[in-house]
Symmetry: C2
């Protein structure tokens, strides 16, 4: 492996790593994982508390660096991205509180999930272990870096970040805090947290499944889809967030309106925001005129099927494309359906299996909706915006997954864990349990995991 002489655009908190080639950095990150995964809880919590203290101490430098990012991107960025790029005292205070929350979470590493006596003196344990080296690709929001770092640390994993160029100064300032953390906590292994800065590095990184155990892209659909299509490394995330609210025949109009408006307007660019509203035809004539009024008041553009437009005079005509579109904006597609079955079928066909809600007072319909809608989050009489790790009580969130394998829905520490099987015998061999007249028989006796 060559120690590349190409000028490196990457920042390693351990400055000695900065000059390494990308494969060497990845190898170092994977090597550091073996040490990280064995760190005792007390040391991990000590590092989290030190990190909180250092964020407080470096506050002014962080805000200064962020100011430079804001100035350099004052004209180029969309207003919503600019807001996400901005750090302030409150956000840093939230970060510090978040670190304290992670200290309080139980250590997920090492728990015995199951223990089975296969035979006398032959005991199998299923033990929770960390995943390995995790690559996080994110855009804009620089506070993602310390947030995710706290989960990586607590879960005994290691991380390599690629931040957006618009937040380059802020991300570097956070990595300087990480350098100070490493000085204060020398038990943290070299290379446990690294930062890449070029897109080319990300493309190259995707070719190293032997070093990188998981990729978490947090960004545009295009970014996520491109990564999913070009790597053999498992990817945790979601490309689309096409979420639905179905207003059932029995829905109280006030409750339905409140859930629909919160789902659509509380943060329209979020992945768990409402995109398509389905309304039972028996309620349409009552509910839709009320919605039309509120939409006008709140500046929501409506796109509706022919049947609904009778009650939504300002609505544009919706096409099939609208059922497949994540607007991420104050635009709402509206469709009337004749039955619960039609609503469920529409959601399973056009949705992105992220978050879908029913507003209904009919217990049988609530139950059927939650069972048959094939999504990570299925709600009754609640806003789709609740789909979030903090709101679920996970302490922090790595991302939201619409994959069904591994972690699904909002992902906290558990999504960063795997398990291994540990078997302890006394020289046991399989041939004793094989053949026409085996010498021994399996017991498969469940033992307590306490």
């Amino acid at each position: 492996m060559t120690s590349s002489s190409i000028p490196s655009a990457s920042i390693a908190a351990s400055s000695s790593l900065a000059s390494l080639s990308l494969p060497e950095k990845l190898r170092q990150g994977k090597q550091a994982f073996y040490a990280m995964s064995a760190l005792p809880t007390a040391q991990k919590n000590q590092a989290l508390e030190t990190f909180a203290r250092l964020l407080k101490e470096h506050r002014d430098r962080l805000l200064e660096a962020n100011q430079r990012d804001l100035q350099e991107n004052a004209t180029g960025l969309a207003p919503s991205l600019y807001q996400r790029l901005k750090l302030d005292e409150t956000k840093i205070q939230t970060l510090i509180q978040g670190l304290q929350d992670v200290v309080a979470l139980p250590d997920p590493v090492g728990a015995i999930l199951r223990r089975t006596q296969l035979d006398e003196g032959l005991v199998l344990e299923k033990q929770r272990v960390p995943l390995g080296l995790v690559a996080i690709i994110f855009e804009s929001r620089p506070d993602v870096l310390p947030q995710i770092l706290s989960l990586i640390l607590k879960s005994g994993n290691t991380v390599i970040f690629k931040g957006g160029s618009e937040a380059a100064h802020s991300n570097r300032a956070f990595m300087q805090v990480v350098s100070s953390l490493e000085e204060a906590c020398p038990f943290l292994p070299k290379g446990w947290a690294q930062l890449l800065e070029t897109r080319a590095d990300v493309q190259e990184l995707l070719n190293y499944p032997e070093f990188v155990d998981l990729v978490i892209p947090r960004g545009s659909n295009a970014l996520v889809q491109q990564i999913m299509a070009t790597t053999r490394i498992p990817v945790l995330g979601h490309a689309d967030g096409i979420c639905h609210v179905y207003v059932d025949a029995s829905a109280p109009v006030e409750m339905a309106l409140s859930v629909v408006l919160d789902s659509k307007t509380q943060y329209p660019s979020a992945c768990n925001a409402l995109e398509t509203l389905l309304v039972h035809t028996s309620l349409g004539p009552v509910f839709l005129p009320v919605l039309a009024e509120k939409a006008l008041e709140l500046g929501i553009t409506l796109k509706a099927d022919a049947l609904s437009r009778k009650f939504l005079p300002a609505a544009e005509a919706a096409t099939e494309l609208d059922w497949k579109t994540e607007y991420g904006d104050l635009i709402l597609a509206v469709k009337q359906v004749d039955s619960l079955a039609e609503a469920i079928s529409h959601i399973n066909t056009y949705g992105s299996h992220h978050t879908d809600a029913i507003v209904s007072l009919t217990p049988e319909h609530q139950q059927r909706f939650q069972t048959e809608v094939d999504s990570a989050n299925v709600y009754v009489n609640a806003s789709t915006r609740f789909a979030d790790g903090f709101r679920y009580g996970f302490g922090a969130e790595i991302g939201i997954s619409t994959s069904k394998t591994h972690a699904r829905g909002p992902v906290g520490l558990e999504g960063l864990m795997s398990y291994k099987y540990r078997l302890v015998g006394q020289g046991h061999v399989v041939s004793d349990y094989s053949g026409a007249t085996p010498k021994a028989q399996f017991q498969h006796k469940n033992l307590s995991v306490e």
Copy 2:
């Protein structure tokens, strides 16, 4: 979607599906999943018991069909593949017993894994649900089909098989049993179990992540790697099985020999068979001569590093390539190491993270080996051949996974499950919990899951 007029080479148990195009078959399989996932336990067990009875009744026809496969492949197949292709009374009896075992397993569908009160009247549940439509690609062994079918049925999933052409008659005969099963159990949804027969179908299938939720290839490394490289559908499996035994300084020679020989010879072509033996240098002069004698007796070819060849006169010289090779045969690579750390580092570098064992009487070394070796199965004083779903007490096995995300190690019913989050409120909205002075606070109170 066109109902293709190309002559179809596929068999659907529901004969009405045979003429459909591949995408239509996949759509049907996915559609059937929604019905399968809601089947009550009693009906699923009834179907399993009926299937067992029908296997018994169709025994002669199954053996006849298998005879045709054996005759047509009498010359073309390697002896080990020919053995795997062969069905006999004992294998069918084992299948029937296996079905009874699966009846006895608890239903994995619907269990509440966690329940949290987010606030008054707002309760979140994490519920176990099936995955969806699973594609199984297998070679030779036709008994894989009914075995996996039983797990698919119990777990509320649906399946599309692609069997090897060498077992075409046997696989079709099993699918005829499935047709009889569908007649006897009309609650099974149309398309829940289908069989494809051409490689082209598999290639096309890999392009439909919207229908297929998981691919399980059970076959050669080349097959698995090619599938992993060409699809965005999650793949569960393992490409290589490069397993190690490390004989520590404190290992009793008799126990070490027994574990090494069982790991290597009990079934040399299995993925959990031993490929590379590591021996502590202090024990080499004692252990290796004994091994040399046994290897000669059992016909094991040895390939060893220079240091070990002093004690293994018949051994060929090993190169780095040997540390990376899965022989799948009576060939064993041997290397001496100076320390436990060197053994662990060798295994993490060259191994395939499948199954690795230490033979040692030193508790600290046992513990360190199991913690630091980054493999799905890590053993103390036991043969690597124990890595198997039946031996672990899972009732049946879908395959063995070396992936760290989702299922790892031997995979039973659990690997066919995902989960969803169900939230029930009373019109709760996120805006009440947001802003500078929120109206409400989250409680995040853990509730009993009973």
